[in-house]
């Protein structure tokens, strides 16, 4: 049900772009929707981060998997169980750049009746890493369309990515990787029963959308060529706020662009916000130092309280009359 629904929406989006450009709404798809999408993305993203920033994190809740800093002769694992800010930076870098915690992923299975076994499982980590890095490099390569002159770093990355070629065309490795990785991530969701059980349209839809974007891009590069100079005229027009709608760009480009716009618009409202959220995970971004430092709950409100001393001062004579022990005895002091 979730799969069908998400696929249907993705197909409808492609058809919308095809239909829209066939009836001549090119300006809408080339200018209005991209600006709208990018604005929604920026505002929505920041609003979501600010909203998260307003939630207190009252407790130190790092989840750790290494030896905490303790006595000198006990070996401390600073990366897996950081005690300082620098340790946290190291841990976050490893998490964000290498998906450290996903690398720890294992598969649990019951074998021979009731023996619980943990099985080596790195495929999710590998596909996830390939997917995210490919996506990032592809996005970075696209800077060539938005900048003139093109920065040499962008050209260098493009050259390295397109190292392999067939005939006179370069084959971008990231193009192949992202398609394979997204396909794997989708198949995994469908084939593994308990992953399928927890999968919702919100999980399938981004996969279809990103697959659609990657596929339309790949088709545009390798099969249905479009006039790149016209495309760059359009994209440069967008970033210089002099939007132009060049004639004669193929429909496949508009499909690609529209799907990208939908991704941008959908981004702040979806699970894709983990892009910003990963930096705010309290289980990762806090040093585990609660045994060394006192952390006061930030929303502790000033409670009016009375010390035992004040209490005893008020009731001392009654307490003594009843024979209760008191800490400060006036009569003794007097005598």
């Amino acid at each position: 049900m979730g799969i069908g629904f998400s696929l249907l929406i993705a197909i409808v989006l492609v058809l919308v772009a095809l239909l829209g450009t066939s009836i001549g709404l090119n300006a809408l798809f080339a200018v209005v929707i991209p600006y709208l999408a990018f604005s929604i993305f920026l505002v929505g993203f920041i609003a979501r981060i600010v909203k998260w920033g307003r939630s207190p994190v009252p407790f130190r809740i790092p989840t750790t998997c290494g030896q905490q800093k303790s006595l000198d002769w006990i070996k401390h694992n600073e990366i897996e169980n950081p005690s300082t800010k620098m340790g946290v930076v190291g841990r976050m870098l490893l998490e964000i750049l290498c998906f450290r915690s996903l690398f720890r992923n294992t598969r649990m299975e019951l074998r021979e009746g009731n023996k619980l076994v943990f099985i080596w499982e790195k495929w999710l980590w590998l596909a996830g890493l390939l997917f995210h890095w490919s996506f990032f490099i592809i996005l970075f390569r696209h800077l060539r369309l938005f900048m003139e002159p093109v920065p040499s770093l962008v050209e260098l990355v493009t050259t390295l990515d397109g190292f392999f070629g067939f005939g006179m065309h370069s084959l971008f490795l990231t193009d192949a990787f992202i398609l394979v990785a997204v396909t794997y991530l989708f198949i995994r969701r469908v084939v593994i029963p308990h992953v399928k059980y927890v999968s919702l349209p919100a999980d399938y839809f981004p996969l279809f959308l990103i697959f659609g974007i990657a596929l339309s891009g790949v088709l545009m590069k390798y099969v249905y060529r479009v006039d790149m100079i016209a495309v760059k005229e359009l994209t440069l027009g967008l970033v210089t706020f002099n939007p132009v709608v060049p004639q004669g760009i193929g429909a496949i480009f508009y499909v690609h662009l529209f799907l990208v716009c939908v991704l941008f618009m959908y981004f702040p409202f979806s699970k894709l916000m983990h892009m910003g959220g990963v930096f705010l995970s309290p289980t990762r971004n806090l040093p585990n130092d609660s045994r060394a430092k006192r952390h006061v709950n930030p929303w502790n409100y000033p409670v009016k309280f009375r010390t035992y001393e004040e209490y005893e001062d008020e009731f001392r004579k009654f307490m003594k009359a009843m024979g209760l022990p008191v800490e400060k005895d006036d009569s003794k002091e007097k005598s």
């Binding site: 993305f41 920026l42 993203f45 920041i46 981060i49 600010v50 920033g53 307003r54 939630s55 207190p56 994190v57 800077l143 060539r144 938005f146 900048m147 003139e148 002159p149 093109v150 962008v154 050209e155 493009t158 050259t159 070629g165 005939g167 006179m168 065309h169 060529r225 479009v226 006039d227 790149m228 100079i229 016209a230 760059k232 005229e233 440069l236 970033v239 210089t240 002099n242 004669g248 193929g250 910003g276 930096f279 930030p298």
Partner: protein, 157 residues
């Protein structure tokens, strides 16, 4: 908001990265390159401009295969006109300033080429050899940041 400093720093970095191309092209207006040299000559390309813009790389790739592997050097355009499948003798004639460095020569009828035996090491490009830096190919490819690998094999200087 908690951890205000950190959150705001993060948002500023995010905004800066996302709008980077906007800042970099602030106040710049770049006109897309045109095939100026060929236009000045008033020559028509072998196929119509739109087809060439989108598919010239495919065409050149096919030419390469056909010439190098099959020895088929004549291209019949969609309007029936015949051209020699040659970068230096056909494309660059209109798309670059200067002259063919001269390592390949057409026969008089211009079609059935009879190639001279050439010792590549002895080829001395003339002063007016094609100026690739100003060619239509180069400027357009520079703009699109796509490096053509024509010059990997075609010896120019």
């Amino acid at each position: 908001m908690y951890d205000k400093g950190k959150i705001i720093t993060g948002i500023v970095i995010f905004l800066g990265l996302m709008t980077f191309p906007f800042w970099m092209s602030l106040g710049k207006a770049v006109n897309p390159p045109e095939a100026e040299i060929a236009q000045q000559l008033g020559e028509e390309c072998i196929e119509d401009a739109e087809y060439m813009r989108e598919n010239h790389m495919k065409l050149l790739n096919d030419w390469r295969t056909e010439v190098v592997r099959e020895g088929d050097r004549i291209y019949v355009a969609s309007d029936g006109e015949k051209y020699e499948k040659s970068l230096q003798n056909t494309c660059l004639k209109c798309h670059a300033k200067g002259e063919n460095p001269g390592n390949v020569k057409l026969s008089d009828d211009g079609l059935e080429s009879k190639y001279k035996e050439i010792d590549l090491n002895s080829v001395q490009p003339s002063a007016e050899a094609y100026d690739l830096e100003s060619s239509d190919c180069f400027r357009c490819h520079e703009y699109a940041a796509v490096e053509p690998d024509c010059w990997d094999c075609h010896i120019v200087d």
